[in-house]
Each structure stands twice: as structure tokens, then as C-alpha cells.
Symmetry: C2
């Protein structure tokens, strides 16, 4: 595919780390929440993949913006937006929460941070959740304040992230449980740090509010991280598909519901909480889903997907591939596809036509094994 | 500035025209409403500028997505979202409408098309207006249907657009008044065509719903447009700043209100219509605005702006530049800046520091003259 440059403008916002990553071998950007998100660094895709799986990377993921909802009706509004039961949620914990509309269509899938009962952060995927929250709050006369605070996440990911972070913050940081968060100090700045991140290689996300301290921390991580072979990085296509970390806008969107995407354990229909789309989800559960997100194994050693690719059986469309990459671990292409009923059975063979050549794919569960 | 490529994925949606423009000399993309928007073609910025001002260009502006609001409460919801009085609006007309929240912060500035009293299209700038509309509709129990229809706009812009379009659609198309629209046929497809577009060089926007016919029309425009020197193009930085076509996300956003942006004639506070932020706007009008969007002339022969650039007087910050470009017509850099009270007077001199060198700018009205 021909390389086309990205045009710069204030509208595609830079992050505090932008000038640094551009000196560190950045090769491509994507955009996310109206912001620049690094998408590639020097080295082949496989080289950066193995580096992430073996060492540690620091990621500029400031584009994961926060929607802050505070005030006396904050908890009620957050619960209204998600089908996950948050009634037993605790301060200092992260919750993966599908956000849906009244028709159960997916609007986003943020990590929700409960800072306290009256203050929540939604760490969002790529859609303007702030506008949905504002619309609901205005329409329902909620007493809330909804803002996008000045928070620019840097992630530290990879198996050596624990040793690197311990060197900066001490033993306490390794006591953080998965999806727990707490506040840690660095050179006068206080940072909310969660044990989380958009890879399955382990690590942390540092929610930088104090930009000056955050930039010093960024530089310090590279300074003391040499022994761990630290490098700049970004969410990685191979790693995230292998790990079945779904991507809003790629793998699912407003036309899909959480049950179709396998989010069943975040769909709490049996509780008496109220949320948008609940009645619709009950109907869908009773009727059964009409399409399902599946893994697809394809006997190919490369693929380039920039829009959905139709899949068929006997020349009849039965769904589409939404993300795909060659996996050096599995030695073939792995893809995530939305497959129509009744074809979404593990083992089903499907046809994929690329450049007029038909290839065979086999449906499987995700994560890939 | 180093050229960095754009990473492709389904999330940054292609348009029906993508494969065509990539064969027609496309050099850069931006993203807009989660979609690819061409940002540059072969030739210098000045060459494409003069071409647009002298001939005719066909633009892939499918990224100007439509939010369709239909149903018996549609008119009420559309009016609630904008400070412009739509009570006397007519079918078949376009209206430029600032959309604001309850605090008068700008959410978008679409062209609103009144198809009929119960069906409206909001042809939006870069933010998820659909989510704001859905939130409001759910919160207020409006009987409306809110969707993003399959509409991919192609614009025909430039002084020769009228002759080119007449050659396709006949004399009737030249009878369309500015911001009027009607339906026109091409090879079995029916297209809503408006006399509008994001340049001041004249032209049309074709709201393509019938993709097959639209693609045939795209090709036909190039086939028969040779005598008018037709070329592919895109919204043009020089032309749009010279013409003071403001850009959401660049020149203004949620932290600005319509009175600060000079949208006074679209702020109808004297009528008895109800809309969000009305009380707040009345207060702002009574108190006076605290910052204002101004033109800035700078004695420079080039500039590259990818984020806001601070402007100061006697080393004290008094505002920021938000868009800027060298104008070959005015022979200096022209910029759009948000300037704090009490400094927003025409003729005020301000300092702009770029790469440690201080330059002088002079505030002026926009459009530039």
C-alpha cells in the first residue's frame, strides 16, 4: 500500500510527548479522539512485536482521553450509560464497561475509573463520549459536571515494566493488583497509576495531570530503563489481535451490541440496576444474537486490511473481516470477523477473496490459542 | 516538518472515492469524523490554490457525515441544539447553525438541511454530533430516529464548477440559489445537490446516496471536465483562511462560544424559541465577551502550525494563533487567533515567538481584505 503522509493541524491535537516520540524513530500516526496516536516506530512490525513481548516499552497513549463525570448524580449517569453493574464498584478500581445507547448499540468501551462515588473518569476509545454524556445529563437534568480534564496517559508495557516501574516508584507499585490504581509521587508531581494497559504483556498506565513532572518521568524512564532495553512503542496490531483486545471502530461500533461482541460477562441483565438498552438486551438474549464476533485463521503469510473484507460461503456473503494481521506466533494470518447466524460455529470454513484470489479461513474462538 | 505516514485501519474509514483519489496524485490525508479526508495532491500548495481559484476541482468530502434526525419531534430537537432561529426555515434550504451545549460551548457548526419538517440532515464538522443528539433525545423522550445515513458528499468547487455542472445536469442546476438544494438525476441515480461548499470560489455539494451512480458521476466529471481543466482537490488551507471559513477543532471548540467566534448573526436571542445555552448567551451578551476570534497579519513568508501558538504583549500571554498560512495574495502570513480582552482591537500589535525569534503581528478583522 502506498505510503501517504498525515497532514498536521491543531484539530489533530499533539500530546505533551509528541516532540519526544518524533525524535525517537516514529514512522506513522493514527488519530484517536481528535488527537495524534503513534502507530509505528522504526523496525519491522515483527521486531517491535518481539520487543514488546520480551522487554518494556513506553507508549504515548494520551489519545485515550478522560471524560470526567462528577457531582451528586455522577454515579447514576455513569450507570445509566453502561450495561455492567457498578453498584458494588469500589474506589481505586478500574472497570471495563461497554457503553450503549437505548437500542443497545455500542458507543464506546472505556475503562471506567471510580475515583470516588462522586467522581469518575471514563478512559475512552475513539468516540466523543463526552457529547453523549452531556446530552443525557441535559435531557435528564442531572446535577453533574462533565469535562475533559488535562490528563495525558503514558503507558509502560511489557514483561520488564514491573522491574522498571519498581526502580522509579519502589516496591509499592508492584503491590498494585490488576485494574487497581493509586497515587504515586515523582519529583513533586502526583500521578494516578493503574495496573492496566492495551496489551496482555503486563504493565501500567500513568494518568499524567502534572505535565512537567510527567515529561521528566518520561525522560527518566528512558534514562534508567537502558538495562531493561526500554524503547518507545505504541499499541501493537499483532499483539492486540493475538490477545483479542478488541478495538472500537475496527472490530465493533454503533451497529453492534455487546452480546454480539462476546461481552456477556459485562452485561448484567439479572440485577435490578437501570441502564439504557436493558430491555433491548433482554429481547436479544431471549431471541439469540444474529451475528457474532469470531476469530478467523487464514492460510496466508500476509494481509493488509484498511476496510472490512467480505467473507462468504458458496459465494453468499456471511460476514466480514474487521481486523487482520500475520501472526509470527501462529505462522498464519489471524483475523477478527463479524459472522452472521447460523454460520458462526467454530470450525466453519469461509471464503475470503483478496485481489481476485479466493482463500480459505476457519472460524475459531478468540483469544486465539 | 518531518513527513510521517498515516496508518490505515477500518476505524479510519475509507470513502467510496478513496481508491480513485489515491490514483489521482493524493499526497496526504487528514481524518475527520473517523474517516479519511484528502488533505493534499501533487503540486505545491500555491499551485493547487491558484487552480482552485481559476478552474474547477472535484473533492472527496465524504467525511462531512450526515446526522439524520427524523420523526415527529425532529424539528424540536434540531432547534434545541442550535442558537439559530429555525422557526421560519423552509424545505430545500441549507442553514449554517452553531450547535452549542447548555453552557454555550460550541459542539459543532454544521450545515443543516431541512429536507422537510420531519426530516433533517446535519452535515457536520469533526465531532460526534450523533451522540449528543442521541443523549438529548433519550433524556427528553423525544419521538425521533437518529442515524448516520449512507451519504458520501463529493464537492465540485471553483469558478468553472457552474459550467461543468451545467454540462451534466443542464440549465436547471445553475438556477439553484446559494444554500438551496434540490434533487437531480444521473444515470438512474437521484442525488441531492446543494449550491454550497467549503470554499468561496463557488460550486456545489453532491450528497451521494446511490453509490454506484455517484461513482459513475465522479468519473464522468473528470471525463467531460477536461475543457475546464478539472482536477481532484480538497479543502484548501490558503483559500479557506483567506475566506475566513472557520474550522471546528482548529479555530474554535467546546471552550468557545458563538459570540466569541463572530457568529452573532446566527445567535437569535430576541426570538422566543427555546434552545440550549440561551440563558448563558444572554448573560455573555450583557457582560460582553472575554475573548474574540480575530485575523492576524504577520510579516513572515512562511509558517507551519500544528498546535496553538501563543501570542503576547510585553511578554504577557494575550491569546493564541489557531490556524495560519502564507498567503500569496496578501504576500504575508495570515492567521486566525483567539485574543483576550481587552486586546482584541483592530490594529493592536502582538508578539509571536517561533523558534526563539520574535515576530510582530497586527490584529485585523476577518475575512482578510
Amino acid at each position: 500500500m502506498k505510503l501517504i503522509s498525515i497532514a498536521r493541524a491543531k484539530r489533530l491535537r499533539s500530546t505533551p510527548y509528541t516532540s519526544r516520540i518524533e525524535k525517537q524513530g516514529l514512522t506513522s500516526y493514527t488519530t484517536y479522539n481528535h488527537m495524534l496516536l503513534p502507530a509505528g516506530f522504526e523496525g519491522t512490525l515483527e521486531e517491535t512485536y518481539y520487543h514488546l513481548k520480551e522487554h518494556v516499552q513506553v507508549w504515548d497513549v494520551a489519545a485515550e482521553r478522560q471524560v470526567e463525570i462528577s457531582g451528586e448524580d455522577a454515579a447514576e449517569l455513569v450507570q445509566l450509560m453502561t450495561c455492567r453493574d457498578l453498584s458494588k464498584s469500589k474506589d481505586g478500581r478500574c472497570y471495563y464497561c461497554p457503553i450503549i445507547d437505548d437500542n443497545a448499540g455500542l458507543i464506546n468501551d472505556p475503562i471506567v475509573l471510580r475515583i470516588n462515588k462522586d467522581k469518575w473518569w471514563l478512559s475512552i476509545a475513539d468516540s466523543d463520549v463526552i457529547l453523549f454524556a452531556k446530552g443525557l445529563a441535559i435531557g435528564k437534568n442531572y446535577r453533574v459536571n462533565i469535562t475533559e480534564p488535562n490528563v495525558d496517559i503514558m503507558a509502560v508495557q511489557g514483561p520488564k515494566s514491573f522491574a522498571l516501574m519498581e526502580k522509579v516508584f519502589g516496591k509499592e507499585i508492584t503491590d498494585l493488583k490488576f485494574f487497581g490504581f493509586d497515587y504515586f509521587e515523582f519529583r513533586g508531581g502526583k500521578h494516578l497509576i493503574a495496573r492496566s494497559g492495551w496489551s496482555k504483556q503486563g504493565g501500567y498506565e500513568i494518568y499524567v495531570e502534572d505535565t512537567k513532572s510527567g515529561l521528566e518521568l518520561y525522560d527518566y524512564l528512558f534514562e534508567i530503563g537502558k538495562e531493561f532495553n526500554v524503547k518507545p512503542g505504541c499499541p501493537h496490531l499483532i499483539e492486540r489481535i493475538e490477545s483479542a483486545l478488541l478495538s472500537y471502530g475496527n472490530d465493533f461500533d454503533l451497529n453492534d451490541n455487546p452480546l454480539e461482541c462476546g461481552f456477556d460477562k459485562y452485561v448484567n441483565l439479572d440485577s435490578d440496576i437501570e441502564f439504557l438498552g436493558k430491555q433491548k438486551l433482554i429481547e436479544i438474549q431471549n431471541d439469540g444474537i444474529s451475528k457474532k464476533l469470531m476469530g478467523v485463521k487464514i492460510d496466508l503469510d500476509q494481509i493488509s486490511l484498511s476496510q472490512a473484507i467480505e467473507v462468504s460461503i458458496d459465494s453468499k456473503r456471511v460476514g466480514e473481516l474487521r481486523s487482520a494481521v500475520y501472526s509470527p506466533t501462529f505462522n498464519h494470518v489471524i483475523a477478527i470477523g463479524m459472522i452472521d447466524k447460523p454460520h458462526f460455529e467454530v470450525g466453519t470454513k469461509i471464503d475470503i477473496i483478496i485481489d481476485n484470489v479466493t482463500h480459505t479461513g476457519t472460524l475459531c474462538n478468540i483469544p486465539f490459542v
